[in-house]
Amino acid sequence: MSPTGHTDAGTAGGAIPRLSMRGIGKAFPGVQALRNVSFNVARGEVHALIGENGAGKSSLLKVLSGVYRADAGDIRVDGKLVDAASPKAARMQGIALIHQELQQVPHLDVAQNMFLGMPLTHGGVFTDKTQMRARASTALASLDPSIDVTAPIRTLRVAQRQIVEIARALLSDARVIAMDEPTSSLTPREFERLTEVIATLAARGVGVIYVSHKLEEVYRVCTRATVLRDGALVGVVDLANTTEDMLVGMMVGRTIEARAHHGHAGTERVLEISGLGRGHAVRGVSFALHRGEVLGIAGLVGAGRTELVRLIAGVDRADSGTVSLHGRPIRSASPREAIGHGIALLPEERKRDGIVPLRSIVSNMALPAFQRWSRFGLVRTQALRQRVREMTERVGLRPPDIDRPIRLFSGGNQQKAILGRWLMADAGILMFDEPTRGIDVGAKADIYRLIEDLVQQGKSVIVVSSELPEIMRLSDRVLVMWRGEMAGILERADMNESAIMHLAVSGGRPQ
């Protein structure tokens, strides 16, 4: 299999590519993140950058946008050498990066955020709000005219905030815009909107770089793809004549067998929820979870899925309803109490609720379990490290260095570590909120298998996911949420995408 024949549409017809990166190398202590990577984007092209977790995608974009300095190689925009000494310098030279974790100041308004670090002034003294707002709304007009430039940024949805970042890039006349996993927290409709925005950018001749683990999206949005593996270039392909299997093969260097669903659900009711609610977010939800069952929770963004599992896990407090474990009502005023009852939650927002950035993989993974791993007040370091090492092997953490601070790992690898935290915790009921967000195709299959191992051992699992294929692959039953209420529960036999979507969109009510 060799789709590696460099098609080089980027230089087709001898035209100078919008962006060319040549021989880029970047090392971090103990890791060669990029080695001799070359990368071209043509004018008006939308180019995918794909690869496994830790392959070096984010690092390449950070080198491009001046966040990191490359050890080797050069960057050209329209044939002109760029010195990306800092993010600001890169921006001045026409390169903008839309980070996955948006870097905005929540309480400042849209216009202020768009001019952050480069405000317009009256004679260099007072900020010129009127002018900034006018220019901001002009820039936004072609992308999303519904956004109010005077609204504080925190009142906007993630998708809108992303568009504000893109508009900000246009203000500084960006000719290359790179997006690092822009869709990981977007709804399908917001994704459609983003697709239109990207098309607008391409039509203006901007070179767009698109990083995603969702291959369907890559095929929808991009024309060519560059594949990285272990920091090196595997190849550049025209998506039109490359199948998804070929792409996956290039990314992971092996084929991934798609396994069918394996059920282990018993009949014993382990967890019973009745009339659970909190404000408008969740209202009167009742269901039972069986031993060895995987219960999927589907619904649109904002339907109350995350809120529901947070209530069960004691992260937020319910104002009505009861939770019973093995038939006995329990009260969880804090996550600690819930964990004491054997109920654990993998939170949706990894950065805010999941990781302790400065601490090592060991400390992060063992966080809920330190008490269990200690004797006479001291942590049994050797045994604990052994267990952590086993678990990192099973989730495929890379690099497998358990003493490295977690913040130095790639996004997907951080997610694997946090997942590992709960796989090694001694919980009978595990709730995973978007478990595979940001995780590559190969690791996804491994994680599905790990979840199946859990239920095979008699544990019960709840999976919240926005990806229907994931829900369908894992669930024995699926609970669909609609505007804070439970729209219905589908048995495996009745489970199909259209049935789920029908409930998610209409709440199962006749329209």
């Binding site: 202590p29 990191y68 300095r69 896990a313 992260v315 804090s334 996550p335 600690r336 819930a338 964990i339 004491g340 654990a344 939650l345 939170p347 805010r352 609720d353 999941g354 990781i355 302790v356 950035p357 400065l358 601490r359 090592s360 400390s363 063992a366 966080l367 809920p368 330190f370 008490q371 200690s374 007040g377 001291l378 942590v379 370091t381 050797q382 003493d403 490295r404 601070p405 130095l408 935290r421």
Partner: protein, 323 residues
């Protein structure tokens, strides 16, 4: 950053880790010693070096507690008044003829109670640590002043003072006590669940909460330890001076914060080192000692302390490089 490139020496089952950052603090200390040694013949004598350690011991003691609080994401501005309150109460007990052992227990209990007050207000009152301990800074000081009517308590008998005047080999008792405490604190931070919790809570409180870490208990422990160590510092000082003043401990909080910061603690929380803090306290002690030997005026000593703190922070920042 320091954690990324720890120098790990393994001998059997014991893992001894000396962080790169601690090596830096040690290097700074050695540099200061070299400079003073070249300026004064007396500086490097055994007697003077022991002197430096003795003079640094109280600050090191207080700073160890401060470091734990800072790592947990807080700050304890009330250590000086806590020390003053414990000093006057225990001194008056000893002078009044109560058993020395009882007085020491009461002193530590008062110190820990002061810390408990801080901890409860921070953990359950939902107030910011800076504000809480700014308040108790005045409050505890006022209690000390009211208790004594503003007068010093004099004539602490030698039955108490000898406790801290005995020596182990060449080292006076205060040095030994603080060394043992340093080791205990290091073990606490590196080897126990509560240490992991302190680091986690300071590093990301919400993630820790979701992971089931007992947030309130963790924070309160740090403040209680800090209060207890401030009380111990007070006992060492009372033994040295033979008296207790209600105004004792003035600016202790700043010295302790300085030692922690020089040693690598981040005021943002989640990061800090016991070894570094102890070295930081010695850096400050060595500076003061050396400048005194050279007959430099107190004003200039203050100036030098300020420069050392800022220089340490700048070097820290610069060597960390671009992230």
């Amino acid at each position: 950053m320091s954690g990324a490139s720890d120098i790990a020496a393994r001998s059997g089952r014991i893992r001894l880790k000396i962080g790169l950052r601690d090596m830096g603090t040690l290097l700074g200390l050695l540099l200061i010693c070299v400079v003073f040694a070249s300026l004064s013949d007396f500086f490097l004598t055994e007697r003077n070096l022991v002197n430096i350690l003795q003079q640094s011991s109280i600050n090191a003691c207080v700073a160890i507690g401060m470091t734990l609080v800072i790592i947990s994401g807080g700050i304890d501005l009330s250590v000086g008044p806590t020390a003053a309150l414990t000093a006057v109460v225990s001194a008056s007990m000893i002078v009044g003829g109560y058993p020395v052992a009882l007085a020491i227990v009461v002193a530590l209990a008062i110190g820990m109670a002061c810390g408990l007050g801080n901890g409860l207000l921070v953990a359950y009152g939902g107030l910011q640590p800076f504000i809480v301990t700014l308040g108790t800074l005045s409050l505890y000081r006022a209690l000390a002043l009211i208790y004594t009517g503003g007068n010093p308590i004099l004539g602490v008998p030698s039955s108490f003072r000898v406790l801290f005047q005995t020596q182990v080999w060449i080292f006076p008792m205060p040095i030994v006590v603080v060394a043992v405490l340093g080791i205990l604190a290091w073990v606490l931070l590196a080897k126990t669940p509560i240490g992991e919790y302190i680091l986690a809570v300071g590093g990301n409180e919400e993630a820790s909460r979701v992971s089931g870490v007992p947030i309130a208990r963790t924070k309160i422990s740090a403040y209680v330890i800090s209060g207890g160590l401030a009380a111990l510092g007070a006992l060492i000082l009372v033994a040295r001076l033979g008296a207790a003043e209600p105004t004792l401990g003035n600016l202790w909080e700043l010295e302790a914060i300085a030692a922690s910061a020089i040693g690598g603690a981040s005021l943002m929380g989640g990061k800090g080192s016991i070894v570094g803090t102890v070295l930081g306290a010695i850096v400050l002690g060595a500076m003061r000692n050396g400048l005194t030997l050279l007959n430099v005026q107190a004003f200039y000593q203050l100036l030098a302390t300020g420069i050392i703190i800022i220089a340490a922070m700048l070097i820290d920042r610069l060597t960390r490089g671009r992230e």
